[in-house]
Amino acid sequence: MSCEGHLAERSIVEAINDCLHVELERDSSVMVLGEDVGRSGGVFRATAGLRDRFGPDRCFDTPLAEAGILGTAVGLCMAGWRPVCEMQYDAFSYPCLDQLITHVGRYRWRTGGKMEFPIVVRMPYGGGVRAPELHDDSPETYYVHTPGVKVAIPSTPADAKGILAAAIRDPDPVVVLEPKLHYRTSKGDVPDGEHVVPLGKARLAREGEDLTLVAYGSMVAVCEAAADALDDVSVDVLDIRSLKPLDEEALLVSAAKTGRVVIVQEAPRTCGFAAELAAILAEKAILDLRGPVLRVTGYDVPYPYWQIEDAYMPSAKRVIAAARRLLDF
C-alpha cells in the first residue's frame, strides 16, 4: 500500500527520517523519545528535524536510561500515545529487553485483550562499520523469542520507510532493527508521502530456479552479491524482512521451487533465526528438498573488534561455498 506519486532517491536513514516526519504529521499521538533524538537529531540523524517541526513534546531527549525509556513508553501507551523509542545502538537495547519481556509483550494477554501497546522500538543493528564491541550486535532472536512482540528488519530504503510506518500503525509492540552498515550506502527510490509495507510479507529480491538464498537486513546484500557471482546458477533471493509475523508461505514456495535453501544470518549461530527457518523447512518442506538446509552465520562469540570483524561477518564467499556444496550434494 503506497500512495501513487513521486519517488525520490533516498538512503535508508533518510527514508527512516522521512517516515517519522510523515507519521508524526499524520497522527498526533505518535511521539519519538530516546537518547539524543531531539536537539541533535540522533547520532545517525534518523530523527533530524522532528523536534523543530513537531515540538519538544513530540520528540524529546531522555537520559541514558533504556529501561526507563521503554518503561515510560508503557505508561504513555496506557494513556493513548504511540511512542517510537530509539535505542541508540543494538546492544544498548539490552536494558530495555527486560521491559519488553517482563511487561510489554504480556500486557495484552494478561488483560484479556483490554490493553494495547502500539510501541515501536527502533535501533540500528549489526556490524561491518568498524565499531567497538556492543555497537555491532544482531539481537533479533531475543526479540523474536518474546511472545507478544513483533520484529521486522528492512534491507532497502523503501522498505525501511514502509516497514517503520507499518510498525507505527500496528496495534502491537514492534521492534524494528535497521541495518546501520547500509544506513547511508544503500540508496533507492522511496515513495514520497505515506508509504506502508505490511508486516508479515517477505520480498523476493531476485527470482531464480536452482537455489534459494534466504536473508534479512544487511545480509540480503551479501546474498545478492553471491547470486551475482554464481553466474551459472539461477538464484531466488528471499528477503524475509518481517521475522514475526513470518511469511512462511514465501519461504515454502521458494523451497518447493528450488529444493535447495541456504540461510544467511549475521547473528551468532546457535538458536539464531536461521535455525527457526531451517526447522520450518524440516517440518513442512522435507519432501521438496534436494539437500540439507545450510546456514551461513556469525560465530558463537562476542562480536569481534575491527581488525578481525570481516572474518566474523558472513561474506559472499562463504555463501557461495555453501551454495556450491548444496548444488553438488
Binding site: 515510560t72 495484552r108 507478544g148
Partner: protein
C-alpha cells in the same frame, strides 16, 4: 465508593468506612490464607496483612481518573481501588470472571476501568509505567495523577532510580508510595540498604519527600491528599515514605526463620493498623462485630462466586497475544 470530604479532614463516619474497608481486606487475606492451606489455591500468594492502612489511606485520597500501579502484594491495593472481592477472588481461583480473566493471578491483577494499571510480579515493575502515564497527563493537561506502590526492596532496583530521575526531571504528576515494611522478602532493610532514612533516595533526585506513619490510616490519607494536590497542581512528583509493618511472612507458608518470634509478636501486638483505628474510634465490641460479620459474609460470598466461576479453556491461552 463513597468519596470522603475533599479538604482532607475526616469525619468519624469516614473513618468508620475506612475501618470497614481495612477489615474487609484483612478478612479477605485471611480467607486467602485459609483456602491456600486447604489446598484450594495454589501459590505464590503474598498477603497485605498489616499494610491495610496504606492501601486504604492512599486509594481513598485519589480522585476519579487517577491511576495506580501495584506490587506483588497487591490484594489490598486492588480492593481499595474498587475491584470487587468477587472479581479478585475469582482471579485467584483462575476463573474467567476474575479481574484479569484468569490469566493474571495474584500478582497480575488489572482493573483498567477502575484505574488499576496492574499488580506486578517484578519488583519495581510499575514505576516506569506510572512515570510515563503521568507524563501523558502533563502533556495533555489532564488533572490526573499516577500513583506507584512499591516496597523498600524496590528502591534498590534500577527502574526505581530511572523512574524517580525521569519523573522529577519532567515534573510529572506522580506520587511514589514506598511501603517500607522493613523486609525485602526475608532480607531486613539494614542488610539491603546502606541508609536508614529511605526518603533520602528521593531527596537525592531533588524530589519532595514526605514521611508518614503507615499504621495510621488517617495520617496516610492526609499525607496522600497533600501529595496528590502537590502533584496535580503541577508542582512535581512526591515521594511518600510510608513506615509500615508486615505482620505475616513474605508469602503464605513462609516459616519466617529469619525473624525472631519475639519481634514478630511484639510487632503484631503494637502495630496492627486496624486495632489502632478501632481504639481511636472507641468502637464497641458490638460495633466491630457487626462490621466484621458483614465483611466476612462478603468474603464468603466471594469464595462461592469464585468456585462457581468458569474455567478458561486451554486454547484461550492462545488468544490476545496480538491484536
Amino acid at each position: 465508593m463513597a468519596k470522603v470530604e475533599q479538604k482532607g479532614t475526616l469525619s468519624k463516619s469516614d473513618l468508620r468506612e475506612f475501618f470497614r474497608e481495612m477489615l474487609l481486606i484483612r478478612r479477605f487475606e485471611e480467607k486467602v490464607e485459609e483456602r491456600f492451606r486447604a489446598g484450594e489455591l495454589p501459590g505464590f500468594l503474598h498477603v497485605a496483612i498489616g499494610q491495610e492502612a496504606v492501601a486504604v489511606g492512599v486509594c481513598r485520597a485519589l480522585e476519579e481518573g487517577d491511576i495506580i500501579a501495584s506490587t506483588h502484594r497487591a490484594h489490598g491495593h486492588t480492593l481499595a481501588k474498587g475491584t470487587t472481592p468477587n472479581e479478585l477472588m475469582a482471579e485467584l481461583y483462575g476463573k474467567m470472571e476474575g479481574c484479569s480473566h484468569g490469566y493474571g493471578g495474584s500478582m497480575h491483577l488489572y482493573d483498567i476501568e477502575r484505574g488499576n494499571m496492574g499488580a506486578n510480579a517484578v519488583v519495581g515493575g510499575g514505576l516506569p509505567a506510572i512515570t510515563g502515564a503521568a507524563l501523558s497527563f502533563k502533556l495533555r493537561g489532564e488533572p490526573r495523577v499516577g500513583v506507584a506502590f512499591f516496597g523498600d526492596g524496590a528502591t534498590n532496583i534500577g527502574t526505581f532510580h530511572e523512574s524517580l530521575n525521569l519523573a522529577q526531571l519532567w515534573q510529572v504528576p506522580a506520587v511514589f508510595v514506598c511501603e517500607n515494611n522493613h523486609w525485602a522478602e526475608s532480607t531486613p532493610s539494614w542488610q539491603h540498604m546502606p541508609i536508614e532514612d529511605i526518603s533520602q533516595r528521593a531527596v537525592a533526585y531533588g524530589m519532595k519527600a514526605v514521611k508518614v506513619d503507615g499504621q495510621d490510616v488517617e495520617a496516610v490519607y492526609k499525607a496522600a491528599r497533600r501529595a496528590l494536590e502537590h502533584a496535580r497542581g503541577g508542582k512535581g512528583p512526591v515521594f511518600l515514605a510510608v513506615n509500615t509493618f508486615r505482620l505475616v511472612g513474605h508469602y503464605i507458608g513462609d516459616p519466617q526463620v529469619y525473624r525472631s518470634k519475639e519481634e514478630l509478636e511484639e510487632t503484631r501486638a503494637t502495630q496492627d493498623p486496624i486495632e489502632h483505628l478501632r481504639t481511636k474510634l472507641e468502637m464497641s465490641a458490638d460495633e466491630v462485630e457487626e462490621i466484621d460479620s458483614e465483611v466476612k459474609e462478603i468474603v464468603e460470598g466471594a469464595v462461592e462466586f469464585a468456585k462457581n466461576g468458569t474455567d478458561p479453556k486451554p486454547e484461550d491461552a492462545l488468544k490476545n497475544i496480538y491484536a
